[in-house]
């Protein structure tokens, strides 16, 4: 289906595209591509890249593992608790990452209420790779929660009820009906979360610190390299850009594997008689 848009919308759209596209193009033009391979073999860069990939994977898994249940519960909650839960779950999205990092620091840090307890048990999160993963999950999980929760709200609850009348218990309904229906939203939410994890800087630098191979992820390395050599920073930035692009592109392809829904389902209400 092609849709025409008014000329002025197209004009604004092209300004929007330039606003996003030009800086990216400018960045790519400034990248010293010839030096990229050599720069990537530098131990500092290699460590940062490897650490970024590892932590991004871990935090994404964590986001899905915890974010999915959270979205399911939030979507079913009603009343003021639901509103509160939804706000709490999405606040990290609008919080400046540095503030998020501070929040983590004063909570999970050695002096924080949770950190102090962990400290007694001999666990200290600060300055460890685990801290990086927690910081990333803190800022990334809300993207997944929001994407999945939105999809859940528009999901046909009658299909789940139908599955239950066919003898499927809550878990079976979840695995066989709800989650498959949510797959597109889960895929896009996961890719958003992963991309956010990959680019996470502020919360990591504030909460986890910065040490090569332990806590210094690619964005932190880029920030640091900028102090010395802008070219190196740009080369690493290009790598980050390519990784993020691959991530978004890959999930886009994954999402398109499902057949297009061109189904004219009757709009009549179906929960045992919408009226009657």
């Amino acid at each position: 289906m092609t849709r025409t848009v008014p000329g002025w919308v197209a004009a604004l759209a092209s300004v929007g595209a330039l606003l996003i596209g030009l800086p990216l193009i400018g960045l790519l033009l400034r990248v010293p591509w010839v030096r990229v391979p050599a720069l990537l073999t530098e131990p500092a860069a290699r460590d940062a890249l490897w650490l970024s990939l590892r932590t991004c994977l871990a935090s994404t898994v964590l986001s899905v593992l915890l974010g999915l249940p959270l979205a399911l519960v939030l979507a079913r909650l009603r009343g003021p608790w639901a509103a509160l839960g939804r706000v709490v779950a999405t606040v990290p999205m609008v919080l400046p990452p540095v503030v998020g990092g501070l929040a983590l620091l004063v909570t999970l840090g050695r002096r924080g209420p949770v950190g102090r307890l962990l400290s007694l048990g001999g666990v200290e999160i600060g300055f460890t790779t685990a801290a990086v993963v927690i910081a990333q999950a803190f800022v990334a999980m809300p993207f997944l929660v929001v994407a999945v929760e939105g999809a859940l709200r528009s999901l046909d609850a009658d299909a789940e009820l139908m599955a239950a009348t066919l003898g499927a218990g809550p878990s079976r309904v979840l695995w066989r009906i709800t989650l498959p229906s949510l797959l597109p939203a889960i895929v896009s939410g996961t890719s958003l979360a992963a991309a956010r994890s990959l680019g996470e800087f502020g919360a990591t630098v504030t909460f986890a610190g910065s040490l090569q191979g332990v806590t210094r992820t690619l964005p932190l390395e880029i920030y640091l390299q900028r102090e010395v050599d802008t070219d190196t920073a740009l080369a690493l930035a290009a790598v980050l850009l390519v990784l993020a692009a691959l991530l978004v592109l890959g999930t886009g392809l994954l999402g398109r594997r499902r057949p297009a829904r061109v189904r004219a389902t009757a709009s009549a209400a179906t929960t045992p008689g919408g009226a009657g």
């Binding site: 009348t165 499927a168 066989r176 009549a268």
Partner: protein, 352 residues
């Protein structure tokens, strides 16, 4: 008892109903919108807990004081207006989902699914995905799926409402056969007279949350005692008092008719008139008809091949069916003053 027993109070919905549907019987639940039909279905499915009372299936309590069986353990099959097929599974998997629910193995479930599809005439659809089916095909699959789960009772919520006339006729046939073979209690909500005739053994009329009529389909339809039942059959029902052994006064209208037994003057009486039996005249007709009433045309609307008039005569609203040609010839428009006539032999009179 072996059937479905419903004896519940749903104060939130203003419903208080007691109804027993024996095994093998299909009981139609009809009534105007808002009468509480859906609330009853929701309670039986298990999503609307009754405030008090009980629901039993084959002697097993589903809802009772201290008992509340969850939806997936109630063995209540549900067939809705929309087929509600699971979009990400093919037809065979959809049907197998129903039969797997009760601990049957995967292979056995597939075999059962195939045989159920066969029985609703949808065997060749097994490999399709739901979005590749027409509305009628999808509803056939939904029937197969509901039956494959071996429900103890079946709830049919206007299952043919969204399907075209031709498709509905075929699926109604399938449903009729399967309901008969299944030998389980079934509750059918419908607004369609054909569904009543073809599928139901018994009709229960619900109004404002209460049962107001209950009987065999043929009896209830032949001599409807409620406006809703009469209008379901498209007929005029006049309620009044007998003024003669074979006459009724409803408002300002005196109606001559036939009564199976002579009416006793002063008793509450009903008169049933087929809209097609009423004739329309521009001037007072000469000759035999014993019922002639001055009237005003209120509504003129297309209905099927003909036209239905809504007329006001003696304070009573009467539906009149005419051909398009007759309407054109008489120049009938809303507001026109006319005379209605109907033979006494076309009016059935019976005590309320």
């Amino acid at each position: 008892m072996t059937g479905l027993l419903i004896d519940i109070d749903l104060p939130g919905r203003g419903v208080r109903i007691e109804l027993a549907v024996p095994a093998g019987q299909t009981c139609a639940l009809i009534g105007p919108n808002g009468a509480g039909k859906s609330s009853v279905l929701e309670a039986v499915i298990g999503v609307l807990p009754p405030a008090s009372g009980r629901i039993e299936l084959a002697g097993r309590a589903l809802d009772a004081p201290g008992v509340r069986v969850p939806v997936h353990r109630r063995r209540i099959g549900w067939l809705a207006q929309r087929p509600l097929l699971f979009e990400h599974m093919d037809v065979a998997a959809n049907v197998a989902f129903g039969s797997q629910g009760h601990g049957r193995g995967r292979a056995a479930a597939r075999r059962r699914a195939a045989s159920e599809l066969e029985r609703v005439g949808a065997a060749e659809l097994a490999d399709r995905l739901p979005w590749q089916l027409s509305g009628g095909q999808a509803q056939r699959v939904a029937i197969a799926r509901a039956l494959a789960s071996d429900p103890g009772a079946l709830l049919l919520d206007e299952p043919l409402a969204t399907i075209d006339v031709q498709g509905a006729a075929e699926i109604r046939q399938v449903l009729a056969e399967r309901l008969q073979q299944a030998g389980r209690p079934a509750l059918l909500v419908t607004h369609d007279l054909v569904d009543l005739w073809r599928l139901a053994d018994r009709v229960v009329v619900l109004e404002r949350g209460r049962v107001v009529a209950d009987g065999a389909v043929a009896d209830v339809l032949r001599r409807p005692r409620h406006q809703f039942l009469a209008s379901l059959g498209g007929r005029n029902l006049l309620a009044g008092r007998a003024v003669d052994a074979e006459a009724l006064r409803a408002g300002d209208l005196v109606v001559q008719g036939l009564a199976a037994a002579p009416l006793r003057v002063g008793t509450a009486t009903l008169g049933l008139i087929d809209p097609a039996a009423i004739a329309v005249h521009l001037r007072h007709p000469e000759g035999s008809p014993r019922n002639v009433w001055p009237a005003v045309v209120r509504v003129v609307e297309r209905r099927g091949d003909g036209v239905r008039l809504g007329c006001l005569a003696g304070g009573q609203t009467l539906a009149v069916d005419l051909t398009l040609a007759a309407v054109a010839e008489l120049g009938l428009v809303p507001g026109l003053e006319v005379f209605l006539s109907v033979k006494a032999s076309q009016v059935q009179l019976y005590p309320r």
